[in-house]
């Protein structure tokens, strides 16, 4: 891992670490303190920084792998900061049956990221979801708080483009 050593990056890391250590201190006394710690960090930082998993592991006498296993098991935890906009593509049965995969592929290609990843410019995070309760209009995606039905690869891309230009202006 090549680390950014600019002053901002160092300060940023220090402040992230401070939040992680706070969350540990606040919960360590609890039985089964790992989940409360992770929730606290996720809530305060919006993600659980991979770099500081080692601090959690050391505090609880666990290995990094064990903590990582737990983080990756729960959909509510993420390990990198979310982009400004979260794009969620539904992968459950109905949407899959109606061509959701094509939408998936198009969006991935457009953003250049896989599920659970964020674009380099920090604009978009792509997530997979399993049913948005919009099966009647499959395939569905959700952008921010808005659900869109009967999406095609083309319409999905258009949507993203609009967001991009909106953001740029």
């Amino acid at each position: 891992m090549s680390r950014d050593t600019s002053q901002e990056a160092v300060l940023e890391r220090a402040s992230l670490r401070a939040s992680v250590l706070d969350a540990i201190a606040a919960n360590k006394h609890l039985k089964g303190s790992l989940l409360p710690i992770l929730h606290d960090i996720q809530n305060s930082l919006g993600h659980i920084p991979s770099e500081h998993v080692v601090d959690i592991a050391e505090a609880l006498n666990l290995s990094r792998a064990e903590v990582h296993g737990v983080i990756s098991f729960y959909h509510s935890f993420t390990t990198s900061p979310h982009g400004k906009t979260v794009v969620e593509v539904c992968r459950a049965e109905s949407c899959q049956a109606k061509g959701g995969r094509l939408v998936e592929a198009a969006v991935k290609a457009k953003l250049g990221v896989d599920f659970k990843q964020t674009t380099d410019d920090g604009e978009f995070t792509l997530e997979d979801v399993y049913c948005l309760g919009n099966c009647a209009c499959s395939p569905s995606i959700r952008v921010g708080a808005d659900i869109y039905g009967r999406v095609t690869p083309e319409s999905a891309l258009q949507l993203i483009d609009t967001l991009k230009t909106a953001d740029a202006s």
Binding site: V53, E58, N61, L62, S63, A65, E66, H68, S72
Partner: protein, 967 residues
């Protein structure tokens, strides 16, 4: 009747019995609760708690399984092992269902078959079907199970979502991880947790997305993985596979042998293709390792065929000359005439030999025999001198036998474990894993060490007390422990009264009660806060089983023998001796330290630790060998070197040891070697000592010879030849050849004949034979008419010396004082991936983990000196100077610095001093006063390092006639 386990069979789930129960149970079958029932109509009786799967396996009814293997607890995730049980609904998993009284189990019917096929089909639909070209072809449980359940076609098709294009991780030098073949059975994850105790792996994600991840989804090499191989061993598919198997293909035959690295003495299956070793796998039948291994024994065997091996005898007139390759005969007669010539000129006692803790018992026996009978003196010593001689002395004095009191299994019954001056997870990794398992199961831990070793705190392990003492103050610490126990009346008065000598005890009590031994006074010396020490002493003395494990951090001191006696006192005082779970356990460094000592490699002792001055003992040897033996003790290694410097000692035969690198005060050693007229070195490689030699006799690796090693628990295990010696002769044959050339006739055709001679002349070995070793895998001495089955636990009813003897152990500060000029204490140690002087491991991929020796320094000391991570630093002591790279870490405490000594160019022993143990001359490696400073830009190397490089390069060139030689 409980059946003996077949070590070559996988029973699916572990036995509910401990290893000890198993042994006792087999002898007597008492006290073990059993249950009986039938499986497929056959009746079976098994210990209570046995799984249905295991019960079936004892009948050779092999229920299909994927997520179960008998080295780890059942998990119940794959559902292929389901069976029908009379009176129960559904089809329970046989691996997680305990067999119960009166149970009737059916393992096969059409319904079960259909269910199993369905499970199998799901697995195979997400699995590449390249069986024919797969590296695991012929050794794949998935393949076997597909066959066993009769899978014929797969309905789901392969075009659905799958993991077939997942990328391989080849970062570990010894094995690959190919996730496309993974069935997510989690055997690897559980093996890393339960067997190895490292917790480097996890299952990441859930459902279809779940996959095995090392660390936080990183390459194996970047994770916490220590490359022990347990996951590879547990993996049922080709996902985790040895690179050697991928290259060479599956082995076609195998032999059981013993690891030649450390004192744990793990049993391995050497798996072969013709005479090429393609894999070493830990052997479940090995009683020291119980099927586990570490990175050295498991993977680092490539040195045996490394291109640096010297495969022809060589001679030369002086160390300025080019080496000349000669025949064995010529080398023997050249060496013999030189030795005899020296003796004529300088007297009988002007030559001697050094035997090796890396060679077999039989080889060591022959070396001491050659010295005593062929050289006609007692100038025989061993490299154990520089590591564990204080153990031999201290334990012999107090308990009566120069060896540890327990077997390794014993740790499973310890309640409190005190580890002192030892670093088991690095230096004795497999035992370290077994200890960690016991700690996770609830034993409590005290660590006494200047440095924060991994045991102090690592996943799921935390020492209750880490007593950070100043190097060199062990005796003060151990006395304070005893003082607290006596002061608080926590000692076992009955045990002491019954088992120990009263007069000596009274005298000792008077001594230990003295205020000078109080924890408060000791604090000023050791730096251990009195309150911590008191708490630790109370913990150790509490009811239950307390065991002490110690290593070179105890012995390699000017008061090494005193500390060993102090440890024995403590164990006797609390009655922690003579049963399972307790005891005094030296962790031996090299594979055969125990054996080389047992075999009489001492200038004052004949085999079995009997004084050479004793006429009767000497008489038996004289009669058997038909020679007269010198009644006068000979030179120890340090005496040999001193005498050489003084010009009195001129000829030396060194078998398999590298004193130029491993012995303290390199300057002095080099001067001595330069003064010899004839130095004969027998080794695999042109080692540092050989660079001063005039006769080189090529040695053979453990794969090329027969013999036995004796590990730290006195266990004698067979070493078996799997390939012919590269140079044509096994080491014992070389010694025999030289001895015959000297005119003392030896005539053995196989090491078993040497063992017969050992048994006939050494009472503790009386009943040891190769036939028994073949039948029983290993034997723990003493093994004679009184203890025909060998002795896992010693001193049960009586001490070997009769009554235990308390010894007064007064603390005397070392002469190695810190001063203004040398304000820091340097202490030395080992690292997991390298072995001792590193001659073997440096010639393997193990260098991936440790390619140089590094100096550890505490942040506050570093700050004072303006040192940051990675700086080149100068280490100066009263004896010399060397340069290393530094790492700033809180692992060491302020004013203590630490390094390893695996690489010759580091010159760690250039700085260690001549100080040594008062009783045995074991060098004080662990305490050297030093100064550390940053080096000026262009001083990469110290003067010594520069000279070393020039000299070493020249010597390598002198040995490279037609064959390419690089060191």
């Amino acid at each position: 009747m409980i059946k003996v386990e077949n070590p070559n069979k996988d029973y699916g789930t572990p036995s509910p019995l401990s290893f000890q129960d198993l042994l006792d149970g087999l002898d007597s079958n008492q006290d073990i609760e059993t249950v009986s029932g039938t499986i497929d109509g056959q009746s079976v009786t098994v210990p209570k708690g046995t799984s249905v799967m295991r019960a079936a396996a004892t009948l050779d009814v092999n229920i299909p399984k994927l997520c179960a293997t008998d080295s780890i607890e059942a998990f119940g995730s794959c559902r292929i092992c389901l069976v029908a049980i009379e009176g129960r609904r559904g089809f329970p998993a046989s691996c997680t269902t305990p067999f119960e009284e009166g149970m009737n189990v059916t393992t096969q019917n059409s319904e079960i078959a259909e269910l199993r096929r369905n499970v199998m089909e799901l697995y195979i639909s997400d699995h590449p079907l390249d069986c024919l070209t797969c590296s695991a072809n012929g050794d794949c449980e998935l393949q076997d199970m597909a066959g066993a359940v009769g899978l014929r076609d797969v309905r789901y098709g392969y075009e659905g979502e799958n993991h077939l294009d997942a990328v391989k991780d080849e970062s570990n030098p010894y094995f690959t991880f190919d996730p496309s073949k993974c069935i997510t059975c989690s055997r690897c994850v559980r093996a890393c947790e339960e067997t190895q105790g490292t917790f480097a792996l996890t299952i990441e994600g859930r459902g279809f997305d779940s996959k095995v991840s090392a660390g936080q989804s990183e390459d194996f090499i970047d994770s916490e993985c220590v490359s022990c191989g347990a996951c590879v061993q547990a993996c049922p598919t080709a996902t985790l596979t040895e690179k050697s198997i991928i290259e060479a293909g599956q082995p076609e035959h195998s032999k059981i042998t013993t690891c030649a690295y450390c004192g744990v003495g793990c049993a391995f299956k050497a798996e072969m293709k013709g005479d090429q070793v393609v894999r070493m796998t830990p052997y479940k039948g090995g009683k020291a390792n119980r099927g586990h291994s570490c990175v050295k024994g498991r993977f680092a065997f490539g040195y045996a065929t490394h291109r640096n091996r010297i495969t022809s005898p060589m001679i030369r007139d002086s160390i300025e000359d080019q080496w000349k390759e000669v025949s064995w005969e010529e080398a023997f007669s050249f060496a013999a005439s030189q030795l005899r010539g020296i003796q004529e000129k300088y007297g009988t006692k002007s030559i001697g030999g050094i035997s090796s803790s890396r060679c077999t018992n039989e080889e060591v026996w022959l070396v001491q025999k050659m010295v005593r009978a062929g050289f006609g003196n007692n100038n025989i010593d061993t490299c154990a001198r520089v590591c564990h001689s204080p153990t031999g002395y201290g334990l012999k004095q107090t308990l009566g036998e120069a060896a540890g009191t327990q077997d390794f299994d014993s740790v499973e019954e310890s309640d409190v474990i005190m580890v002192m001056g030892a670093n088991p997870t690095d230096a004795h990794p497999v035992f370290g894993s077994r200890m960690k398992k016991r700690l996770r199961d609830g034993a409590r831990l005290i660590v006494v060490d200047p440095r924060r070793i991994d045991l102090v705190k690592s996943p799921h392990i935390q020492a209750e007390h880490h007593l950070k003492l100043m190097p060199g103050t062990n005796v003060s610490f151990i006395n304070a422990m005893a003082h607290v126990i006596v002061r608080d009346k926590l000692f076992d008065a009955d045990f002491v009264a019954e088992r120990c000598e009263g007069e000596a005890f009274d005298e000792w009590m008077a001594f230990i009660r003295d205020e000078m031994n109080s924890p408060e006074n000791s604090e000023a010396i050791t730096g251990i806060p009195a309150a911590d020490l008191i708490a630790a002493a109370r913990l150790y003395a509490q009811e239950g089983n307390s065991a002490i494990y110690y290593g070179l951090g105890v012995t390699e001191h000017s008061q090494g023998s005193t500390t060993v006696m102090g440890i024995a006192n403590l164990a006797m005082l609390t009655g922690n001796i003579g049963r399972r779970g307790v005891g005094v356990n030296p962790l031996r460094g090299q594979n055969n330290v125990q054996g080389s000592c047992d075999m009489g490699s001492f200038p004052h002792e004949l085999p079995g630790y009997r004084p050479v001055t004793d006429d009767e003992v000497r008489g038996t040897f004289e009669q058997a060998w038909g020679v007269e033996i010198d009644p006068e003790p000979g030179y120890r290694i340090n005496n040999m070197l001193d005498a050489a410097c003084a010009g009195l000692y001129k000829g030396l035969y060194v078998q398999g040891e590298d004193i130029a690198q491993s012995d303290p005060n390199t300057h002095h050693v080099e001067e001595a070697l330069n003064n010899l007229e004839c130095l004969i070195v027998q080794d695999l490689f042109l080692n540092e000592t050989a660079k001063f030699a005039t006769v080189f006799l090529p040695g053979s690796s453990f794969l090329e010879k027969n013999g036995t090693f004796t590990n730290a628990e006195r266990r004698i295990s067979p070493v078996r030849k799997v390939m012919p010696p590269l140079a044509g002769l096994e080491d014992w044959e070389v010694t025999m050849g030289l001895c015959n050339a000297l005119g003392f006739e030896m005539n053995y055709s196989h090491p078993r004949e040497i063992m017969a001679e050992i048994a006939s002349l050494t009472p503790t070995f009386a009943n040891v034979t190769y036939e028994r070793l073949d039948a029983e895998d290993s034997i723990q001495w003493p093994c004679n008419d009184e203890t025909p089955d060998g002795t896992p636990i010693m001193h049960i009813d009586d001490f070997v010396r009769g009554k235990g003897l308390f010894k007064v152990t007064e603390y005397v500060a070392t002469d190695e004082k810190i001063t203004k000029r040398f304000p820091l204490i340097l202490t030395t140690g080992r690292i997991l991936s390298q072995y001792n002087v590193g001659a073997q491991t440096r010639r393997t991929e193990n260098n991936t983990w440790h390619d140089q020796d590094i100096l550890e320094i505490h942040p506050s000391d570093a700050l004072d000196r303006g040192i940051v991570d990675g700086d080149r630093v100068k280490i100066q002591s009263r004896s010399g100077e060397t340069h290393l790279n530094a790492i700033v870490t809180e692992r060491v405490q302020p004013s203590v610095v630490y390094t390893t000594f695996h690489h010759p160019e580091s010159g760690a022993n250039v700085i260690t001093t001549d100080n040594s143990d008062w009783a045995t001359n074991c060098p004080e490696y662990k305490v050297t006063a030093v100064q550390i400073s940053k080096v000026i830009a262009d001083q990469e190397q110290s003067d010594w390092q520069r000279q070393y490089e020039t000299f070493s390069d020249k010597q390598v060139e002198l040995a490279s006639s037609d064959t390419e030689q690089t060191a």
